[in-house]
């Protein structure tokens, strides 16, 4: 089992390295003279030369890559062309703000999705099941911003003016100082991923409930509570963990749209600003950060999958 986990870890490191390569290579796609592209057509030759120097654009490609990679490892993510400040400083406060959204949505959607999925699976074929399945199918189809706008229309404007539709906190103040402004963004993200977790949990639980060992447990006369908790749920955890991971990692992407919609001061908003300003080093830093989160979350899910599989687990026990 440990060899398996180590192998999985090695793959993640390799993928992460390839991701850094890809993020770096993307900058080579900048059309023509990158410095001119960044500064615009009116830039003086002196400013362009200064920027080239600052970005190290005169050095060979491989050296620029190594310099950049070294910076990533030492926590130096470069300089924002737009704010002229270090990228780390720009992102510092925003990471926390985004994490509040991600963790909030993750906790609610995981708990909700697992409960709804199990409930639905235990009542297969009944009205409850059809309602849950139908609703999750509809909501799963909607892009993040559609859900967000719908929530704003219903909960923030004339219908039921309960929550603010934009972030109220002035810059510099922590977002959680006014919890009410977190409600709609978190609710939007929750609605985006809950349907998938629900559907997966329902499907996996259905499969497990139809399995020979669950039938056998019932035929042994075990109480239904024991059948579910001891014989069914443990087998659903492994496969569902993977889907939860993919969904939570997806939140890292969905957060971009949601932050833009609610003008929320997180890294997603920063990424949109950076793309608009062609602030290359900020874009690199944020995409690398999100990909890193994605890889780590998937790694954890796979390890959970390996640990909950008795065949793999028993290899060391023997």
């Amino acid at each position: 089992m440990f060899r398996l986990i180590l192998r999985r870890l090695a793959i993640s490191v390799a993928v992460l390295w390839l991701v850094t390569l890809l993020v770096f290579v993307a900058t080579l796609l900048l059309p023509g003279d990158p410095a001119r592209a960044i500064l615009g057509q009116q830039a003086t030759p002196e400013r362009i030369a200064a920027l080239n120097d600052q970005l190290g654009l005169d050095a060979p490609v491989w050296q620029r890559y190594l310099d950049w990679l070294g910076g990533v490892f030492t926590g130096d993510l470069g300089t924002s062309a737009a704010s002229q400040g270090p990228v780390t400083e720009l992102l510092g406060g925003r990471i926390g703000a985004s994490l509040v959204l991600l963790v909030g949505a993750a906790v609610i959607s995981t708990a909700g999705g697992l409960a709804l999925g199990t409930w639905s699976a235990l009542r297969r074929g009944r009205a409850v099941d059809h309602t849950v399945s139908g609703l999750s199918l509809v909501v799963a189809a909607l892009p993040e911003f559609v859900i967000g706008v719908a929530l704003i229309v219903v909960l923030s404007t004339t219908v039921l003016p309960l929550f603010p539709s934009v972030t109220l906190a002035p810059p510099g103040e922590p977002v959680w100082s006014q919890p009410i402004q977190l409600v709609l963004p978190i609710l939007t993200l929750t609605l985006v991923v809950t349907p998938y977790i629900t559907r997966m949990m329902r499907a996996t639980m259905s499969e497990v409930l139809d399995s020979g060992y669950v039938e056998m447990a019932r035929l042994k006369g075990l109480p239904e509570r024991v059948v579910i908790t001891r014989h069914a749920v443990p087998h659903a955890i492994g496969p569902v963990a993977q889907v939860i991971a993919i969904q939570l990692a997806w939140l890292a992407g969905g957060v971009v749209v949601v932050e833009f919609l609610f003008r929320y001061p997180g890294i997603g908003q920063a990424l949109i600003d950076a793309v608009n300003n062609r602030d290359v080093e900020v874009v690199q830093a944020i995409t690398l950060l999100i990909a890193g989160v994605y890889i780590v979350v998937n790694l954890i899910a796979d390890i959970v999958g390996i640990m909950t599989n008795p065949k793999l687990r028993a290899e060391v026990a023997r």
Binding site: R124, Y213, L219, K220, G221, L222, T308, P310
Partner: protein, 564 residues
């Protein structure tokens, strides 16, 4: 065996009716009674409803099925009879596992892979309050494991199901069922997928336990030979109805219903009778005297199925395997295997699961791994991979796969599938190919109207006929038949065996017939090679091997093969 004389019935089903949710009847009024210590065999082919009838005894209906009528009464000892289907959930739960227990068909799927086996047996005891303390229950677990012939030590109980062999898993399932000393056990094809030797062991265990504890047993099976060894009485189930019911002797020796007769005659016998759906025995099975067969040594002309001997051709090997060895790492699948198939003869390659028989047939077909040794066709060595074989070589060696459910492309019509080898391996034009396909389909007795159907629209037997047609359409010199009957129902198996015998008589194609079922030997083969652990441990004419087996393993196989 005779049923113990008794007046009480431990388990009785009366006019049991079960429908699917959509309203199709699955059981149309099934009744049976079982006395203490008695074994009732519920015999039926796939789709007969036998599992549904068995699970009903525990008050369990699978998803999609509804109980629409009839009752099941369960009487344990001196207690009043309980109507299993009328009691409440809680009461029914108390009956399951303690008064009436279930032994499933597939132990690998029915044991929880994440729990240790000791725990899985223990939870039955715990739930039903068996024993006053953990120590007492632990002692009972050890006792019941010993009863089924498994080690009873602590370390064995701490194993996970996947650390056990199939036979051991099944015995854990039996131990679990007998743990609370139930009055009734329902056994759902408990020996399917086990080797004959293991099957005998499991059957003996079940017989001993039921006799010892006066347990009534409902034994669900499709195998009449097994019925003959274990059952006191038999109920034959067909399409949800009991068509025949009586003592095992009556039903097996003098069946009264046509369907039962069909089933009984379809069972292959070691002496060469049965396994036919038409005129009784193929040829007089015992006429070929063992002395004359062994005297002629390697010659195969005296085998019963080779009646109509093929003279000189009988001496020339058309397919020759010599010194074949295959290994995966340290594991040797085949060791130095040599085997000849002469023109026109049928050689049975006999082996249980894990013997290497599949690997051997795949090496011959060119689908296997790289190997040492040679496979040659009419003297010319064949390449290990199909890619390096010539079209003529590929045409000459054809293969019929075990399962007709996976050997035909589900997206192609029967005619398209049968035509395929002609397209790629011969120069025939479209019209000639079509004529050949039609001719071959007629030859395998397949209705020409089925040629334009997809495999899904055919029965298992029809599909296997189509697969045989695909094997024969190129008029090969050797046909490899890989367990061609084992995925089919008993009555269909017999028709396929008959067909292969007739085709050999008509076409004189040599066959390598790979199987685990020694009972088929006299029906199809001239010679037998017995494969075990990757080695040919015995070979010779059918009569030599069956009448005078030289190897201990062959003797064991013969002894353990159930007879009717």
């Amino acid at each position: 065996m005779t049923a113990p004389a008794t007046l009480t019935h431990t388990l009785a089903a009366r006019d049991l009716r079960v429908d699917t949710v959509a309203g199709h009847p699955v059981l149309k009024g099934v009744s049976y009674e079982i006395a203490p210590g008695e074994v009732l065999a519920l015999v039926g082919e796939s789709g007969s409803g036998k599992t549904t009838a068995g699970l009903a005894a525990l008050g369990h209906f699978r998803r999609g099925l509804v109980h629409t009528g009839g009752a099941i009464s369960l009487q344990s000892g001196a207690a009043d009879p309980v109507s299993v289907l009328d009691v409440g959930d809680r009461e029914r739960r108390q009956l399951r596992g303690s008064t009436v227990a279930y032994i499933p068909q597939d132990p690998a799927a029915s044991l929880n892979p994440a729990l240790r086996i000791g725990k899985q047996i223990g939870e039955v005891l715990e739930t039903h309050g068996y024993g006053a303390s953990d120590a007492e229950r632990s002692a009972r677990i050890a006792e019941v494991l010993a009863e089924v012939g498994l080690p009873d030590d602590e370390s064995y109980r701490r194993r996970y199901p996947h650390e056990l062999s199939g036979g051991q898993q099944q015995r854990v399932g039996i131990a679990m069922a007998f743990a609370c000393r139930p009055s009734v056990v329902v056994l759902d094809e408990p020996t399917t997928g086990l080797d004959v030797t293991t099957q005998t062991l499991v059957l003996r265990t079940v017989a001993a336990l039921t006799t010892e504890h006066d347990t009534a047993a409902l034994y669900i099976t499709h195998d009449l030979a097994v019925v003959a060894t274990i059952a006191h009485r038999v109920a034959v189930l067909r399409n949800g109805e009991v068509v025949e019911y009586g003592s095992a002797d009556e039903v097996l020796r003098s069946p009264s219903h046509a369907y039962t007769r069909e089933l009984v005659t379809a069972v292959p016998h070691l002496d060469g009778t049965g396994a036919t759906d038409t005129s009784g025995s193929v040829t007089s099975p015992t006429s070929a005297s063992p002395t004359s067969a062994s005297a002629s040594g390697a010659s195969a002309s005296d085998g019963p199925a080779s009646a109509g001997a093929r003279g000189d051709r009988g001496r020339r090997p058309v397919l020759s395997v010599s010194g074949l060895s295959v290994s995966y790492g340290d594991h040797h699948v085949l060791r130095d295997v040599s085997l000849d198939v002469r023109a026109g003869e049928c050689v049975m390659l006999l082996g249980e699961s894990g013997s290497g028989k599949t690997t051997l047939s795949q090496c011959v077909a060119g689908l296997g791994e790289p190997h040492a040794g040679t496979v040659s066709l009419a003297g010319a060595p064949l390449a290990a991979s199909t890619q390096q074989r010539t079209a003529e070589q590929l045409r000459s060696v054809q293969y019929v796969f075990q399962s007709p459910y996976s050997s035909l492309n589900p997206r192609k019509t029967i005619a398209q599938s049968v035509e395929l080898p002609l397209r790629t391996l011969t120069d025939l034009d479209a019209a000639a190919r079509r004529a050949r396909v039609t001719e071959t389909l007629e030859r395998v007795r397949l209705d020409p109207a089925l040629a334009e159907r997809l495999p899904d629209e055919l029965s298992g037997g029809q599909r296997q006929r189509a697969a045989i047609a695909r094997g024969l359409v190129t008029t090969p010199d050797v046909l490899l038949c890989d367990e061609v009957t084992s995925a089919l129902d008993v009555s269909v198996q017999a028709t396929i065996i008959d067909l292969l015998c007739e085709l050999r008589r008509e076409l004189g194609t040599a066959m390598l017939f790979v199987t685990h079922n020694i009972a088929l030997a006299r029906h199809v083969a001239d010679r037998i090679a017995v494969l075990r652990g990757g080695e040919v441990i015995e070979s010779g004419t059918v009569d030599e091997v069956l009448d005078f087996p030289s190897h201990e393993y062959t003797r064991e196989l013969l002894a353990n093969t159930p007879r009717m």
